[in-house]
């Protein structure tokens, strides 16, 4: 007799615990404000990432097409993966002095681990992170980027 009572008790308790869980899931039906799903590709326009988000490394240029990179190579030294390669050249300034400047600042996005050491250690704050996060390309060669724009120059006053 007792075993039958226990058996029935177990069934009722089991159903009760299931209903408790169903109550949680069911209650979300009536609270549409708690839905957090984003409709990603269609909300692209108003999808703003946080300002510190580490999307990819960029070299900000001003409106006169000038950047702050002196070509010192500290970013290349600090990069743990060999992502950055600074190819420098020697230029002759207006007053006839020889000076080092960057020819190409190559950044391989495919190898980057976003440790932020290059941005952090740059002595002239020439590098920054952009908020772009859609990195997919059809060809692997597109992941190798030259950060300085063609024809760009060193900003005046940056040593």
């Amino acid at each position: 007799m007792r075993s039958i009572i226990n058996y029935l008790k177990e069934i009722i308790l089991g159903v009760w615990s299931l209903l408790k869980g169903m109550k949680v899931t069911g209650s979300y039906f009536f609270r549409p404000s708690t839905i957090v799903t984003q409709k990603y590709p269609s909300n692209r326009k108003d999808l703003v990432m946080f300002e510190r988000f580490k999307g990819e490394v960029v070299m900000p240029h001003n409106e006169k097409n000038e950047h702050k990179c002196t070509g010192c190579g500290i970013c290349e030294l600090n990069c743990p993966n060999g992502t950055i390669e600074v190819i420098s050249k020697t230029i002759i300034t207006e007053d006839g002095k020889k000076k080092r400047a960057i020819d190409k600042h190559i950044y391989r996005l495919g190898m980057c681990t976003f440790c932020a050491l290059c941005v952090k250690t740059c002595p002239s704050n020439a590098l920054a992170f952009s908020q772009k996060f859609e990195h997919a390309v059809f060809n692997r060669a597109h992941l190798i980027k030259t950060l300085n724009k063609p024809g760009s120059q060193l900003m005046k006053g940056v040593e």
């Binding site: 089991g14 299931l18 869980g21 743990p80 976003f114 440790c115 250690t121």
Partner: protein, 374 residues
């Protein structure tokens, strides 16, 4: 011929060997388990590891100390911040630096947030392993809130790389305190829902109570740490026994349970989430003023010697052992990873249970495979 037929049908010699993994959803990564079965009963498990071995310890020997940090992110990716902290604390200990209080408090808050998000993901995937898909969505939904806090302050979501020797990379974001308080207020309401969904469920009880019992003696002799060890009554919380960062100034209790089965490992982690929220609440309102980073030399060189630092990650005790010969690169780095040690007990506690219990026990140990292989 007759003998052969007899062999196949005799009960004693019928062992069936199957491969579970490396591509199995419930091993949570590329872990291969060679399981010997007799009917449904597990006789022996032989874990084969090394599918995601990247040689992190060897790579550390050729790079500088600040560069090591981003590699430790990729060991136990769910407690990335705590791994970073371990290396930083070790470097700072070797240099005998005094770290300002602000850095200590920021690191502690971040570590506890990391612990909560790790346990949330564990809860999500553990529920899914046992057939409750709702758990997975709810767990990830709540984890997203913490990831947003990380993203705003650190710039990364999972692999934060926020620590650096001598401090943290950036100061906390102006919104940080407000967001953390919002999260705690939100999560205190949500966590009882977890209990209603899974902890009180009768099917879950049947599948977890009394399954995979680990005694206190075995936990100590195998060296099982973290929530899995504490569920067996092994008092092994490094935060309590050897406080680092700001853990010496806050009041919290070490969660201990004595049953040692799958259910008590589950309940230990749920309780730890409550306790982590208590720790954050004590610290979040009084973050001291000061610098967020101590100015370091451009090239960090540790004095010759051996250094060891242990921290409590979400899965157990992580030890970082550095031998320095005075150069900018370490001579040798060894990580004592909690998951590798916790895996060793897997065979011992699963023997004699059914194959469906193997999934439950594996889930309750909360293994992260990249931390095992490194």
């Amino acid at each position: 011929m007759e003998e052969k037929v007899k062999d196949i049908t005799s009960d004693e010699q019928q062992e069936y060997v199957i491969n579970m993994g490396p591509q199995h959803p419930s091993t949570h990564g590329v872990l291969r388990l060679v399981v010997s079965l007799k009917g449904e009963i597990v006789k022996n498990i032989e874990p084969h590891i090394g599918y995601i071995h990247r040689g992190i310890e060897k790579m550390c020997e050729s790079i500088t100390y600040p560069q090591i940090i981003h590699l430790t992110d990729r060991m136990d990716y769910l407690s990335a911040h705590i791994n970073n902290e371990a290396v930083c604390l070790n470097v700072e200990k070797a240099l005998e630096m005094d770290i300002p209080d602000r850095i200590k408090v920021i690191r502690t808050i971040m570590s506890e947030l990391t612990r909560i998000q790790s346990h949330q993901l564990w809860w999500a995937s553990f529920g899914m392993d046992l057939g409750g898909l709702t758990c997975f969505f709810y767990g990830l939904r709540d984890r997203e809130k913490i990831l947003d806090i990380f993203e705003e302050t650190c710039g990364g979501r999972m692999l934060v790389s926020y620590n650096c020797p001598g401090g943290v990379m950036y100061d906390i974001h102006p919104n940080f305190q407000k967001r953390v308080k919002e999260f705690i207020k939100y999560f205190r309401k949500i966590l009882p829902e977890y209990d209603q969904l899974l902890s009180g469920n009768v099917i879950f009880h049947e599948r977890s109570k009394g399954i995979g019992k680990l005694s206190l003696e075995d936990a100590i002799s195998y060296g099982v740490t973290g929530p899995s060890g504490r569920a067996s009554g092994f008092s092994c919380d490094v935060r309590k026994h050897e406080p680092y960062s700001a853990y010496d100034r806050i009041i919290f209790k070490e969660i201990l349970h004595t049953e040692g089965d799958t259910f008590s490992r589950y309940i230990t982690r749920i309780d730890e989430m409550w306790e982590s929220m208590n720790i954050i609440e004590q610290l979040i309102d009084n973050i001291p003023e000061g610098p967020y980073s101590v100015k370091m030399k451009p090239v960090i060189k540790l004095p010759e010697g051996e250094y060891y630092q242990r921290v409590e990650t979400a899965r157990g005790e992580l030890g970082v052992y550095i031998i320095s010969d005075g150069n900018k690169n370490p001579y040798r780095v060894k990580f004592r990873s909690p998951n590798f040690v916790n895996l060793s007990v897997f065979n011992h506690i699963t023997k004699g249970f059914k194959i469906a219990d193997l999934v439950a026990i594996g889930g309750s140990l909360d293994l992260v495979i990249p931390d095992i292989d490194r």
